[in-house]
Subunit: 140 residues, 2 copies
């Protein structure tokens, strides 16, 4: 479906609780199944690891020549418009740069966060129905 | 599709930038279209308004007898497991309480956040493809 040699770095917020890393990692696994011939890794802005720097380094030796950083955030915010670009070395407001990994020049692209989408409203509606039918619980 | 007299309070994180409120409000509008005979309002934990308290108050006079608070967050975290329940008056780990609104007893239910879902991975894949085809940009 896409060209080979593409890396995807799924970026999570990170948390002192395990759930953000679990959700971001599960979404990354689904992305890996959806897009063939792509190397998918995760990285986290706060608390959890790999860090963003470690996440980029983890593509060394994989043969990718382009990496897309995908912020797994609902909406743009200070994290996605300032904090993450600063760590990735992307100018604020821009969406690409060149980086060196293991001596190779790699194009680093920056995707947009999820945004409002009917399917997110669909998930929310299911959660609302679960709450009304008493199927909720903090365990999972 | 659901019984009448249900209120849905869609809870956002809030942000110093306008995007979180825009996305949460757009998702709330979609929820209102998906679920008939439901009063849908928004509220925000930080910075943006209405506050959670103002959001609950906004159901006064609407005739709802149950309110579902739906955290529009990707994953459970400190905000959804501690901060929001504390403000709503729900015991940590529990998902319901009774509140008084305008002299009426109202059941307040607490839904789970969105969680990992194949459709979120699907949105992410579209954003990744947009980045690869240079369709990204901070404007929308």
């Amino acid at each position: 479906m896409m060209e080979n040699n593409i890396g995807v770095l799924v970026l999570g917020h990170g948390s002192s609780l395990p759930y953000n890393k679990q959700v971001v990692s599960a979404v990354a696994d689904m992305i890996a199944k959806n897009i063939e011939n792509t190397v998918v890794k995760t990285a986290f802005l706060n608390i959890d690891t790999p860090t963003l720097y470690e996440g980029l380094k983890s593509f060394e030796g994989t043969g990718v020549n382009r990496i897309v950083a995908m912020p797994c955030f609902l909406a743009p915010g200070v994290h996605t418009t300032k904090d993450i670009p600063r760590v990735l070395g992307i100018e604020e407001g821009d969406n690409r740069t060149m980086i060196q990994l293991g001596g190779a020049d790699i194009e680093l692209l920056y995707a947009e966060p999820l945004g409002a989408d009917p399917c997110i409203a669909g998930i929310a509606c299911r959660k609302i129905e679960d709450a009304l039918s008493e199927k909720t619980g903090m365990s999972d």
